[in-house]
Symmetry: C4
Subunit: 279 residues, 4 copies
């Protein structure tokens, strides 16, 4: 990340800080990353536990202090990052830069607005930095396969979601007419909420059909949901399989030294195009 030439143009302090904050190979760099992750985890835990009334009554002050200490630490870290990168504006507008800023704002907001502290949960996204330590590239590659598979199937998924939404709209209205308000289906939006709860097989049971006809319709909706869940799985599976095949084929390609031809059968001894010996 920081080649010698680049870092030489930095000031001495900036250079050192750069290695600590952005580097991952030196001991100091690794230590900084681990401390940062612990601080993030700690601050998320503090927000979560603060919301538990029993704990807040006893340890409320501790959480407050922890919150402010960590926020000040994150603020310092943010400005250090701005100071040491060559192009501060590029960092400030990058994905991680925006997240870093969003992670410190909510605490300051609590000085003016009540309840703002819960937005600090946005810090969870900063945990993405964990991949930096765990040999990022391997995970990025795998994530890439997943993202590509989802991207490749986005039109199919949209068609599918459109069909599910129409089904849910129609079934919800039908059930509203069949069951009516006295059985919990008090309005069409609420019936649609029930239909989504049912078709996704979540099934809370807070609203459930009581009449025989309603139960029959619900049973049909469930069986449809049962069959329908197969569709997105099928879409994503075949895309992932295709994406993986692509990756494997790229690795398996044998390149001819002479002409660059890559279309050889896997056990070729001579290039199929120019006759040059391979490997």
């Amino acid at each position: 990340m920081s080649t010698p030439q680049e870092s030489r143009s930095f000031g001495k302090l900036r250079e050192r800080l750069y290695i600590i904050v952005f580097g991952t190979d030196t001991r100091a760099g690794k230590l900084f990353d681990i401390v940062l992750l612990c601080a993030i985890l700690g601050s998320i835990l503090a927000v979560m536990l603060e919301s538990v009334k029993e704990l807040n009554d006893v340890y409320g002050e501790v959480f407050k202090i922890l919150e402010w200490t960590l926020t000040i630490f994150f603020t310092l870290e943010y400005f250090v990052r701005l100071y040491i990168v060559e192009k501060p504006i590029k960092y400030a507008t990058s994905f991680l830069g925006v997240i870093d800023l969003l992670a410190i704002i909510p605490t300051y907001l609590t000085l003016f607005v009540a309840g703002g502290s819960y937005f600090m949960i946005i810090r969870a996204i900063r945990l993405l930095r964990i991949f930096r330590i765990l040999k990022l590239s391997r995970y990025l590659g795998e994530a890439q396969v997943l993202v590509n598979a989802l991207k490749a199937s986005r039109y199919k998924i949209m068609v599918f979601l459109g069909a599910v939404c129409s089904l849910v709209l129609i079934m919800g209205t039908l059930m509203y007419m069949i069951e009516g308000g006295e059985n919990g289906f008090t309005s069409i939006p609420r019936s649609i909420y029930w239909a989504i709860v049912t078709i996704t097989t979540v099934g809370y049971g807070d609203i459930a059909p009581q009449t025989v006809i309603g139960q029959a319709f619900a049973a049909i909706l469930m069986l449809m949901g049962y069959a329908i869940i197969a569709v997105p799985t099928g879409i994503v599976t075949s895309e992932i399989a295709a994406a993986e095949l692509d990756v494997k084929q790229k690795k398996a390609k044998i390149v001819c030294d002479n002409c660059g031809e890559t279309n050889h059968s896997s056990f070729a001894k001579f290039c199929a195009t120019c006759g040059h010996q391979i490997g």
Copy 2:
């Protein structure tokens, strides 16, 4: 859609209207499509919110007016469509034509029958027109793959659904005999409803086995449902994968200019049938 020759045979007004109503490339055509979609969405929202008692008490009049305004707009649109197409009967009996008619009838029905307004939810299907704007063909192609996959697996899915229905019938009756009415399994149809709720993993909890034997049977049914859900997924997945392979292979086919042969290995330089060089 409207080639110059066709439109020339239209009257001037008809021609203009045709471009606006059926076209999507001109500004007026696009605007019309967007206005139409907003009107459909608005009318669906009105039906939905009208069913919420609190909102209806306050805005009931607004919903009524909105409903009638939009219905009159849709009625006009329907007759304009009938007027400007070359073969009105073909349009009136086409899928979208029937939906367009069904979407306006319910409101007029409410003059005679109470509660008919809820059938207006059928307008949701008109939202399919949204694909017109979003470059229809791409979505149609994807939808085609899904429909083909489902069609190709229809016999397997019917065999599977038959097996599930038998299982549900037998397990429902068994549970009715084991649990009996005092635990909520008051009749065989209701027990079958429970079995469907369980095997699809919806699990409302409004009916749940109370006896030890009943819970043991329920546990077996759940594990079977767990294994069984793999079957439709497997069916649809392998069909989608096959359908996608077909599409890709069609794209990848190399056609010989000389003899039209398409069965070439992917790295062939000469036609396998006639020896003609391939591009």
Copy 3:
């Protein structure tokens, strides 16, 4: 099924009955099959509706009469089948023969034992005859693919079920120790029942963890169940895909007239083994 030679050895009545009862191609044969299916459906409906107290109070007598009429009809049909087949013992011990017998016994049992009538639901299995009318072979082929896929993956599924059972046993015991009787986890078997309800994502909610530690463990179990459900799906899907590939490859095989060799590439013009020209 009944070639002319075979039927000639039958008595005239037997011959006619055979064509009606076992045949599906003649009008009389088709009519008999449809009447039989209706009778089976009717008798299943009668058993189901008889269990609904409100209906039984009013129509109890009708159900009784229908039950006995249909049972006598099925008994006659059973003896006719025994009479007209060439090898009665083979039919009586075949799968469908045993089901046919089991379908009539329960009604006679009700003369001696109360509640036996519910076993009549076993008649549902007789509905399998519906495939006879719907061009049986096509469905049998599809069912065969599914059964083969399940058979091929039976060892994997047993390993998987063994793992799930161990997990459920251990998690159930853990939750019994964590939550205890006051939160509904009154015994280990009941806790195991809860664990199965949870891991299969049914989630009735009749037993649910109340303590924080219990909820944390439950959350872990759910996420594991979420990941685990992927395994049987993966197993069955890859087997179905493989089974379908087999079927396709068998169809696609090109047989050499000269030497019987089937291993040809799909666009071969000459046999790869003996050089004989192909089709």
Copy 4:
């Protein structure tokens, strides 16, 4: 397992015991394995049934006696195993050896600590020995395919679980802010528990959104969970398919007697590398 040479170096008793305890081919060896499995099953059942209050009140003494008898039997068996194997330390530190020890400790612990007996459920793992009788290798091979598939997809699954955890964290906090304590969302950890219950489609219904906005967010979370469940299935399926393909390809490989080359097309008659005739 015990070749003649090895056993000759054993004492006569040791030799006999070895054949009985570790062997599976002789009648005595098979009998011992079956007795052992029954003892394990019996002891697990005893622990389970002891936890049912009604049964413990009546049969408490029986369970106690059974427990101690079986534990003493298992203790003897453990020391016999230690005595007869050639390298006792290797056995004592092996996976099965540790489990064998862990399976007997809890009962002795109950002399000092209350409730320790429930840890005896660890004996369930000893049931793995069942595979010894059922021709182990076949199941091991299948288990290997599953484990390999899971291993190969471990990075993808970690990326996926990370995404699910972030989603659950953010949605849980959002719902805590939207619904608040009066609707059951009393703290962020509890809201996260709800989000997990919802996204995995378990849906107990002990906590369910009551406000309209909360239900809308819950519906979105469900639909996301519905789409997301397709991802792990897709990952595992494509890995299992790949793993099975590997196994099949290995079996299908044709080895040249002359040079050991395995890269032949499936219908080759001569080795592609050295020209030696195959098969």
